[in-house]
Amino acid sequence: MTDPAWIHAALTGARPQAIGALLRYFRDLDTAEEAYQDACLRALKSWPVNGPPRDPAAWLILVGRNAALDGVRRRSRQTELPDEQALSDLDDAEAPLAERLDGSQYRDDVLRLLFVCCHPDLPATQQIALALRIVSGLSVKQIARAFLVGEAAMEQRITRAKARVAKADVPFETPGAVERSERVGAVAAMLYLVFNEGYGADPAAAQARGPLCEEAIRLSRLLLRLFPAEPEVMGLTALMLIQHARRAARFDSDGALVLLEDQDRSLWDPKLIAEGLALIDKAVRHRRPGPYQLQAAIAATHARAARFEDTDWAGIERLYAALERVQPSPVVTLNRTAALSKAEGPEAALAMAEPLTGQLSGYFYFHGLRGALLKQLGRAAEAREAFDRAVALAGTAAEAAHIRAQIDRLSA
């Protein structure tokens, strides 16, 4: 019951709530982190002996808070507070006490802690690193490995991010409804950054960063537990779950990226897909579609098709059209074009693609898709020209090889 693995999981699970409460109490990130570390050390000593507390977060908040205050008092030569041995004997008495301290503010504590990491002044990489360090409790070494940079460089990046956050005014008063919903939006975006950082484009990166995807999903579920009626948080969680479900099928044995249409769907994780679909069903009931819900619904449509040929392209095209309305971008339109070509054929799709030429002239996928459409329409010369441009813009060898294969088929 108190084996090291359990204690580790309990400390990780309690971390956002505990540091969030300590941050509110001390209003300083470093002090809150130190107090939490202190409490963890005491937990490692106390829990194996006294058994795990019923509510690890409450225990850590109380002990961490007392440890930090104790330090202050000791420095000013006053009486020490009772140590954690005595505290753990209180057992259930600790729960209502901590409850009184933190229960009512639990939700805003965790949200604030997550929100601290998405300060608009912080570049995306720093937001991610800070969240992984503070909220998830990953070591600098682990984060450095995930980002494929040296430990010292990562240490510096995190220190700089923390300094910037400390200078910024972290809002400690209880947020109003509008502000709270803005924070949820910012946190959702940050969590999706963490997820995408983990969703590497090559197998080595995907291997090293895979845990980032799982961490993003864990924090997203946490956010959803705090805001259970927020359809965009349901959508975000579903989107991550369904994308992550495909991880085993994304690379072939040579390490090349496998396109969705070629993936072995038997390798998709049905448990993650089931959870994602359940969340989308819940979100739809709210009738407040947003970008995460729509992207999740698109991923879900793919997940529901047993084979690529069974894909409901008309449905996907409609979802992209809706996404275009809530989040207009030429790339979304391009994806809609690809779906339209499957649903209605190359002619309609080409007509939709042409107006994008100006905006997407430097975009690999645009020329690749345009080439494929022209090829289907029998306009081989124009297709070759488009494919040539795509090859020139390809970011990876795999992308270029994929287009070259299409060119070969043109001349065959």
Binding site: M1, W6, T12, G13, A14, R221, K282
Partner: protein, 123 residues
């Protein structure tokens, strides 16, 4: 008598398990299940998706549909077994076996069944 063994644990903790830890727990619970099956005592077994996937319908003249689980608790209902036990004593022993195998904190609530209909839905 048939008992429902209701599994309660902190979702925060279970959610922080690595895949390897989760797989290991499921495997060692599987051993207990295999033993119960061999004894002809195991009924339906279910592990529930996280409470974030839950929806609650509050009864009333106009039933109210709410997101999330029925109760906000420190520990959540994460799954259940139905096990045939000769006595409460045996049910307690079974729960202890499961507790040893699960290696986490949390609790098992033993609730004798009053009505049982195994149904016809396959796995």
């Amino acid at each position: 008598m048939l008992y429902a063994v209701l599994c309660y644990d902190s979702e925060d903790v279970v959610g922080a398990w690595t895949k390897e830890q989760d797989d290991a727990v499921m495997a060692s619970l599987g051993e207990v299940q295999a033993k119960l099956t061999a004894q002809g005592r195991l009924g339906p077994v279910a592990r529930l998706l996280p409470t974030t996937a839950a929806t609650t319908v509050r009864k009333g003249r106009e039933p109210l549909v709410l997101d999330g689980p029925f109760a906000e608790t420190k520990e959540q209902l994460l799954g259940f077994y139905v096990v045939d036990c000769e006595s409460l004593e045996q049910a307690v022993e079974t729960a202890k076996d499961l507790a040893k195998a699960s290696g986490s904190a949390g609790a098992f609530e033993l609730r004798p069944l009053r009505y049982y209909q195994p149904g016809s839905v396959g796995a």
